[in-house]
């Protein structure tokens, strides 16, 4: 018997997902574990595999639409099966959901329901949902340059749009059947800069849909700053010994074609320091405090559309060479957006490094439920006074943001002092 297939929750934190592409089309046979679609969740593009066997009878949402979890996306059944009833059910649920939305939002029982959804194709489609079987209204394909939900454009335009990151749904096509052609995309991108330079007409902002990663970053960081009482501690360290240690290690590693970075050493130092001041390696969980038995360091990696935090597990127990390799491998996959959810969740402490941009020091936003994040600045070569004499020095400033609910000032300061001892005397890592 045919059944409605909902968008699965592909990660514990997934509230909504963008259906990036269908791997099957209507009429295709589907087996258990067959790839049905690719879904972009809050941080990764995930595979949506079938739990059912049969024929894909109906696709209910087009590619590119963002939906809440559980919203119906397809109907699977036997070949030729009558699905009019199921379709009616899907449609009426959509309509009911739209009507019920305002009530659901104010109802206390709404806790179990996802937040109101908004499909990204056009504003007309938002369908706030109160029940798992609700769906957004059927997608209207009235966007310019589109026909039947598909944007019509020349191959050249598609390439240019990819290169210039232009969403073709916002470009008006002037060719046959509304086809978007070269002159449309050029007049779309060009005159904006030219006209505003002339100081003539004031142009409205260019409106783009925020990616699901961008929305996740916005939500989590707002939540962090609003709920966690941050305070900041800065410590200035002599980075000379660590630089020298790195140089010596790299000389050893050269034969194997390997290298460690200063950042890899800082990860290791921070991890070892967490063992020495374990109060910082904790999470405030409402009525409980969780003291972590493991030291897992989240490393902030800038990617095209935002930021990801792959986690180096057991960084306190790993060799620096291994940390270096893992960081490089995870960062590479982060940029390709190929990290799994497991690889970027459940860290116990974060490190963010903007030294490569010449930033001397900065404060970072805590990545909940972690208790602290360490912000790493650039190396400064400057004169320092040592035993009454001015000598050339290499310095680096570290600023830790702490969750005051569990890490008090003295605790944070003790941590940074332990960290500084390791940084300034790297052999300390071995103790």
């Amino acid at each position: 018997m045919a059944k409605i297939i909902g968008l699965p929750k592909l990660s514990p934190t997934m509230e909504e997902g963008t259906l990036v592409s269908w791997a099957k089309k209507e009429g295709d046979t589907v087996d258990v574990d067959d790839l049905l679609a690719e879904v972009e969740t809050d941080k990764a593009t995930m595979e949506f595999r079938s739990f059912d066997r049969g024929v894909l009878l109906k696709i209910l949402v087009p590619e590119g639409v963002t939906l809440e979890a559980e919203v119906p996306v397809a109907i699977i059944g036997k070949a030729g099966e009558d699905i009019t009833e199921l379709l009616a059910q899907v449609e009426s649920a959509g309509a009911a959901a739209t009507e019920a939305a305002p009530a659901a939002e104010s109802a206390p029982a709404a806790e179990s329901a996802p937040e109101s959804a908004s499909a990204s194709v056009s504003a007309a489609e938002s369908g706030p949902a109160s029940a798992p079987e609700s769906v957004p209204a059927p997608v209207s394909a009235s966007a310019p340059g589109s026909r039947g939900g598909r944007v019509i454009s020349s191959p050249l335009v598609r390439r240019l749009a990819r290169e210039r990151s232009i969403d073709l749904r916002s470009v008006q096509g002037s060719g046959p059947h509304g086809r978007i052609v070269k002159r449309d995309i050029e007049s779309y991108a060009g005159p904006v800069a030219a006209r505003s330079m002339l100081g003539g007409e004031r142009l409205p902002p260019e409106v783009r849909q925020a990616s699901s990663m961008r929305r996740t970053i916005a939500r989590r960081l707002t939540e962090s700053k609003q709920t966690i009482p941050h305070y900041y501690l800065t410590i200035d360290c002599d980075i000379g010994p660590l630089s020298d240690a790195r140089k010596a290690m790299n000389a050893e590693l050269e034969a194997d074609g390997k290298k460690v970075s200063l950042n890899d050493l800082i990860i290791k130092a921070a991890a070892v320091a967490l063992r020495r001041v374990p109060e910082v390696n904790a999470s405030f969980m409402g009525k409980e405090i969780h003291y972590h038995q493991v030291v897992d360091i989240s490393v902030a990696v800038a990617v095209d559309e935002g930021l990801m935090t792959p986690v180096i597990r057991d960084a306190d127990r790993k060799g620096i060479g291994q940390i270096a390799e893992e960081v490089r491998e995870l960062a590479g996959r982060a940029r390709d957006r190929k990290l799994s959810i497991e690889e970027m969740t459940n860290g116990t402490f974060s490190i963010s490094n903007l030294g490569m941009y010449g930033i001397e020091e900065f404060t970072a936003v805590i990545n909940p439920p972690e208790a602290a994040i360490l912000a790493v600045g650039t190396i400064r070569e400057e004169p320092i006074v040592q035993a009454g004499a001015v000598v050339p020095g290499r310095r680096m400033r570290f600023t830790m943001s702490c969750d005051h609910r569990i890490v008090d000032g003295a605790t944070g300061a003790r941590y940074l002092a332990a960290f500084k001892r390791i940084i300034e005397s790297p052999l300390n890592m071995l103790l």
């Binding site: 020349s154 191959p155 050249l156 335009v157 060719g175 052609v181 070269k182």
Partner: protein, 328 residues
């Protein structure tokens, strides 16, 4: 450079090659005493005598076959068809023998032969005598196919054809024989290699690929389009097999649009082949479907007004360029 007519350029090519290599000889209907049906071979009989300029009976299968046999044993024949329409009775010789012997003898035999003559419509010679034959021959591996548009290309390509060790189908044009154009001075030898397209006109807005008689129609259309501000790049492949797509693809990547103009029928042939390769090799650069302006898909009518409609016209070329440019 001097100006020569297309027929004079061809004659010079044969004369120079016959002087250079005594194995080269010319055979066909009316090539000798009548001085050539289109006067291409004028004067060659007097210069080289009856052993090397041979008049034949009206028997294309026979003299094409004799030519192939002569080539197999070491001579270098030029076989003139009075028109390419008459090659159909020699089709089997060209396809089954000339194009195959080298492969079937495992390389032991070669067939260095040139089949040449006027191709395509002349003026009111009706359906049986107006064939543009390139599609028939261009699809055969084992043959080279040349179709020069200008006197210079005619001379340079025919010399290369005569020196080729493999069979060449050389397509001229009755309406082109009187066309004048620049040809390198006497004593300056120019061999134009097979497989080199020529950019005849530069332009940034649309690429036109054309050869043979419509080449001149397309060039005139390009001038009119330029007056309206649309600059076409015109490219002549010159040899249809091998086909040099390099300059064509390079051009389409700049102009983002392409119109292919040819005399032969629209179904298949080098015209369709070029469209196929453009869409595959320049897909991400195309702003519009590739268009073709072709001879219409009918047997050629006798009436002059109808014949003029069937052949590619300036108007149809201009319309096609405007369509791919999304103009008006």
């Amino acid at each position: 450079m001097r100006e020569l007519r297309y027929r004079e350029a061809l004659r010079e090519a044969m004369l120079e090659e016959m002087e250079r290599d005594e194995r080269v000889f010319l055979m066909g209907e009316e090539v000798g005493h009548y001085q050539g049906a289109y006067k291409v071979s004028e004067g060659l009989l007097d210069k080289f005598g009856e052993r090397r300029v041979i008049d034949t009976p009206i028997a294309e299968a026979g003299f094409a076959g004799i030519g192939i046999g002569a080539a197999m044993v070491g001579l270098r024949p030029i076989i003139e068809f009075m028109t390419w329409n008459f090659s159909f009775v020699a089709f089997d010789q060209i396809i089954s023998n000339a194009a195959k012997i080298h492969q079937m003898s495992a390389g032991a035999l070669q067939v260095p032969i040139v089949f040449r003559g006027p191709n395509g419509s002349a003026r009111q010679v009706a359906s049986q005598h107006s064939h543009a034959v390139a599609p028939f021959y261009v699809s055969i591996p084992g043959l080279y196919v040349c179709q020069p548009s200008t006197p210079r290309d005619a001379k340079g390509l025919l010399k290369t054809a005569i020196r080729s060790n493999n069979p060449v189908v050389f397509l001229e044009g009755e309406t082109l024989y009187g066309v004048k154009g620049e040809v390198p001075d006497e004593g300056v030898e120019e061999l134009i290699p097979f497989g080199e397209s020529r950019v005849a006109r530069n332009g940034a807005d649309c690429t036109i690929v054309t050869w043979g008689r419509p080449y001149y129609v397309a060039m005139a259309a390009a001038e009119k389009l330029a007056a309206d501000g649309t600059e076409c790049e015109v490219i002549d492949p010159r040899t249809l097999r091998p086909l040099d797509m390099g300059p064509i693809i390079e051009s389409v990547r700049r102009t983002n649009r392409c119109v292919v103009v040819h005399e032969h029928w629209p179904y298949g042939g080098p015209g369709a082949e070029i469209v196929d390769r453009v869409q595959r090799e320049a897909f991400d650069y195309l702003d519009a479907p590739v268009e073709r302006v072709t001879g219409l898909d009918v047997p050629m009518p006798y009436a002059l007004n109808l014949e003029n409609e069937v052949l590619p016209t300036e108007e149809r070329i201009i319309d096609a360029v405007k369509r791919v440019s999304y103009a008006k």
